[in-house]
């Protein structure tokens, strides 16, 4: 049996989260009642015309810049002709030979190594609506149409076929998703269909330079399904090649329930899309000045930020990965670390208690009442021994609940540590008197008996005594008596 090299390229479609659609003023909301987010333009009514949403172009430029693309100064839209009921005009306004962004690359980490994959192009096009069939309506005699999604701006990001395993392809998809989320141009919600990854996959004998015949896989709504689909397809193509047969170039649909890919349409029925320039639109002009205006609005991208966290804050690569997993987490950490000057402590709080609270409440960090200012204050209260680490946890719980500042909580609830030595000493003497057994054990050499006595002091002060002071005083009292 021959050994094969896997060759994968990806077409990623991401819905842009602009306020209105690509060619009309409709706002699109996922889950809205069927056809509520439509107007004569996105329904393709006679005589209506498209007008390009500048914001969508700006979003595409943001994506292009974030992925190192060349921004085309004058690009154009084209009509892609095919009949399908979800396509109101029976042509899709897309970009054929002059896309908005050309070339570019995406860098990501795979198996501990940095990988860079080249992009062929990024272009803008309009999304289609969706058909509602019998499985939803229960009526097998007719289908219904929902055009809410028709005309939503879609970014199509096309990579070169440079990925060599399903796992690597997934890592690439995650990196693209992360960038799009970071630059805030797409929600990238796979389940809601706002991010769709379509791999094209072929095998070739190891060492061969020529590409094998590829198949395209459509319609996956999770990375899990995507990897299953690619793994299945690798096995299927290998079986075909092993048997000395030829892979048919076709589009496949992955059925998650059977774990198999099935042919959607073959090459013999390959559509001739009859692309031609969209006469209802003029060329999209993107001036150098405009690009210069957009460039500085781009946030620091995840890869660069990760590097900076590791080098500037001395954060471990694993923790840096976590702290840059979303832009809000990264910004929270960055600000808290800068304010407090204690990056490691901030990281521990964010990854530990704060994440626990967020998970329990099922909210995202940007929606929490706790801000970097809260965390900074909390860390300072611990540092100047106003509260203990343990009390700090309960203060954070409280702040998370109410949004009050830690100092305010400490004052209101009287949580400040007792640092008055005479006060602590009185309690220590009382505890030693009440617990002669453990006190004697300590004096007899069982040093760990002190732990019990510390516990009793802390209990008596409801945790407010400074533990270091308690220890010092107890040691002194026990050894002098």
């Amino acid at each position: 049996m021959e050994e094969y090299e896997i060759v994968i390229g990806l077409e990623i479609h991401a819905e842009l989260c602009t306020e209105s659609k690509l060619f009309c003023n409709c706002a699109y909301t996922f889950g809205a009642s069927a056809n509520d987010c439509t107007c004569p333009i996105c329904l393709g009514m006679p005589g209506t015309l498209p007008v390009v949403n500048r914001r969508a172009v700006e979003f595409a430029v943001r994506a292009g810049l974030a992925m190192g693309c060349e921004i085309t100064a004058s690009s154009k839209f084209d009509r892609k002709n095919y009949f399908y009921p979800d396509l109101p005009k029976n042509y899709q306004i897309s970009q054929y030979d002059i896309p908005l962004c050309q070339s570019g690359q995406v860098t990501f980490e795979f198996e501990g190594e940095p990988r860079t994959v080249a992009l062929r192009r990024i272009h803008l096009e309009e999304d289609a609506g969706k058909s509602i069939h019998a499985e939803v309506t229960g009526d097998p005699t007719r289908s219904f149409m929902d055009f809410n999604r028709a005309g939503v701006p879609l970014l199509e990001i096309v990579s070169e076929p440079e990925l060599h395993s399903p796992a690597e392809a997934i890592a690439y998809c995650r990196a693209v998703k992360e960038i799009l989320e970071y630059i805030e141009v797409s929600d990238c919600n796979m389940e809601e269909g706002s991010l769709r990854c379509e791999p094209n996959l072929s095998l070739r004998p190891k060492g061969s330079k020529e590409l094998g015949t590829r198949t395209e896989i459509k319609n996956k709504n999770s990375f899990q399904e995507l990897i299953e689909a690619m793994e299945y397809e690798v096995r299927r193509q290998a079986r075909i090649l092993d048997a000395g047969e030829e892979v048919v170039q076709e589009t496949l649909l992955f059925d998650a329930s059977t774990g198999k890919t099935v042919a959607m349409r073959g090459k013999e029925e390959a559509d001739d899309y009859r692309y031609f320039p969209e006469p209802d639109l003029v060329h999209v002009q993107i001036s150098g000045e405009w690009v210069k205006e957009i460039q500085p609005t781009l946030p620091e991208l995840p890869a660069a930020r990760r590097e900076r966290f590791i080098s500037d804050y001395d954060i471990s690569p694993e923790n840096a990965e976590f702290l840059t997993s979303t832009r809000p987490i990264a910004e929270f950490f960055d600000e808290a670390a800068r304010r407090s000057g204690e990056p490691t402590t901030c990281a521990n709080w964010i990854m530990g208690d704060l994440t626990r609270l967020l998970n329990t409440a099922e909210i995202e960090i940007q929606d929490a009442k706790v801000t970097p200012a809260h965390l900074n204050e909390l860390i300072h209260l611990i540092a100047d021994a106003t509260i203990s680490g343990k009390i700090a946890k309960s203060v954070l719980d409280d702040a998370f609940e109410t949004g009050k500042m830690p100092k305010e909580i400490v004052a209101e609830k009287g949580l400040a540590q007792i640092t008055d030595t005479s006060e602590i000493e009185a309690i220590v003497l009382q505890v030693v008197e009440d617990n002669p057994g453990p006190a004697q054990d300590y004096r007899d050499g069982t040093k760990k008996a002190i732990g019990f006595l510390v516990g009793q002091v802390m209990r008596a002060t409801r945790g407010k005594a400074n533990p270091q002071l308690v220890n010092q005083i107890l040691t002194r009292v026990l050894s002098t008596e």
């Binding site: 009514m45 006679p46 005589g47 209506t48 015309l49 009509r79 009921p85 009859r274 031609f276």
Partner: protein, 493 residues
């Protein structure tokens, strides 16, 4: 003279002076419609009730002494390819028989701001594809000058109703000559403004890169008034151009001294009807006699205009008409076997022969393997035709040609021969390719009594020069005052 025979600018003075009311005027037009419309058949839909409401509103304004716009209370007919909110818009096609747009075309919004009275929707070739209005799915429109002749097309209804005085003015659309040619054949003024001058929003698309809305009027002054109302860039149409819109009535100057008029030799071939050639030469002589300089010019790529047009327009149309599939609106075959069958039956049953022919031509011209030889080559030819004009307008101000190579032909005469029919557009398509403004003004009659049109073309956005030459010609002739026999005989001939 009945009110319906007058021009908008004369009527405006009477309305302003409160000599007449808009309601009286509207009633006069509808009385004329009752009289002659059964013979002309220019309208597909009449909206009398709505018209009288609008007339009433205009009258209130005039009575209150408000400063009323020039077109307030003026009865205007609209080609049925322009969307009118709440009023059926069929494009003379069975596929849109029941289509009532929930929106107005931008030109309608602008005309309603002027306070016009909308009379109804006029007949046309289905989806504006044709040169005789015989391709309407509903009826044949008759030329008021000869009821056995076609009115031209595709805006035949809009031309015929102005000629027959069943409208004061009308709007049409011109893709390859669909305003200018019927204007010539019906003896009225018709103008296609520069591509991008008037918003196409709400104009049902035939060929998007060529389509343009324009007026039919009884004289050049009315033409300027309608241009004033409908021109201007529109946020709803990306191809509308943001250039200054002048007051076009300022161009109505009876003086062409110092203006150079180019006569392209390629338009005066043997294919041109001898009588037409004679009337057009006479017209040019009139302009020369009042001070214009006339010189022969060459537009060498003229001969490719028709072939180029019949590739580009159908190519765009094949995509523009794809939306008529029975899924969302319009006609649908109700007993298909499956989806593909629904598409096939719906479109086979509800599109006419010429529309189907052009969809097939256009689909072919765009197909893989043929696009280079047809669509792309046509685009190159279009660029050459455009550069011919660019070069010509370096030397001359306005170009004068016949509008149509022949006068109106008989109904049915060319329906069997599409190529012969396509040649009707030979004089008008070149300017369409170049997006130029062009007007057709009446310039005489052939022996049989049918009108002849003089076409005047200008550089892009040079409507003012075109109007000035047209106005001067009109002031020095009286062809535009002639009424078809259907009018002067006081009855139907």
């Amino acid at each position: 003279m009945s009110l319906c025979e007058l021009t908008a600018h004369v009527l405006h003075e009477k309305l302003k002076a409160r000599e007449i009311t808009a309601v009286e005027l509207t009633e006069s037009v509808y009385a004329r419609i009752v009289e002659v419309e059964p013979h002309v058949k220019g309208y597909l839909t009449l909206t009398k009730e709505l018209a009288l409401e609008q007339a009433n509103r205009a009258d209130t304004g005039f009575q209150n002494g408000d400063d009323m716009p020039a077109l307030a209370g003026i009865p205007i007919a609209i080609k049925d390819v322009i969307c009118t909110q709440g009023v059926r818009t069929t494009c003379a096609s069975k596929i849109l028989e029941t289509f009532v747009p929930p929106y107005d075309a931008t030109v309608m919004t602008k005309l309603h701001e002027q306070g016009i009275v909308m009379l109804g929707k006029t007949n046309m070739d289905e989806f504006a594809m044709g040169s005789s209005t015989e391709n309407s799915a509903y009826q044949i429109t008759h030329n008021p000058w000869d009821l056995d002749a076609i009115p031209g097309g595709s805006s035949g209804g809009s031309a015929a109703v102005v000629s027959a005085d069943t409208a004061i003015c009308s709007l049409g659309s011109d893709t390859g000559g669909s305003i200018r040619q019927p204007a010539a054949l019906c003896g009225v003024v018709g103008m296609k403004p520069t591509y991008g001058r008037v918003s196409r929003y709400g104009l049902v698309a035939f060929a998007s890169s060529l389509d343009q809305i324009g007026p039919f009027t009884k004289d050049v002054t009315d033409c300027a008034l309608i241009l004033n109302a409908i021109c201007g860039s529109d946020a709803m149409d990306a191809t509308s151009v943001d250039v200054h819109v002048p007051d076009f009535t300022q161009s109505l100057i009876n003086d062409v001294k110092g203006l150079k008029i180019g006569i392209p030799k390629e338009y005066f071939t043997e294919a041109l009807d001898a009588e037409i050639a004679d009337r057009v030469h006479t017209a040019i002589a009139v302009l020369e006699s009042v001070g214009a300089t006339v010189e022969e010019i060459s537009l060498p790529h003229t001969e490719y205009a028709i072939a180029t047009y019949y590739i580009i327009a159908p190519a765009e149309a094949s995509a523009n008409l794809a939306r008529y599939d029975g899924v969302r609106y319009g006609y649908r075959n109700e007993s298909p076997e499956d989806l593909i069958d629904m598409y096939k039956r719906t479109r086979s049953e509800a599109f006419g022969e010429e529309v189907k022919r052009r969809i097939m031509i256009g689909t072919f011209a765009l197909s893989a393997g043929y696009q280079d030889a047809y669509y792309r080559k046509a685009q190159k030819a279009r660029t050459l035709i455009k550069s011919d004009f660019d070069a010509a307008f370096e030397k001359v101000d306005v170009i004068a040609t016949p509008t149509s190579p022949t006068p109106a032909f008989k109904i049915g005469e060319r329906t069997a021969d599409p190529l012969q029919m396509y040649l009707s557009d030979v004089m008008t398509t070149p300017a369409s390719h170049a997006g130029l403004p062009g007007i057709s003004v009446p310039c005489g009659f052939v022996e049989s009594g049918l009108p002849v049109g003089l076409q005047l073309l200008g550089a892009p956005f040079a409507e003012e020069k075109v109007l000035r030459v047209a106005y001067t010609f009109e002031q020095n002739t009286d062809h535009h005052r002639q009424k078809p026999p259907i009018v002067t005989d006081g009855g139907v001939s």
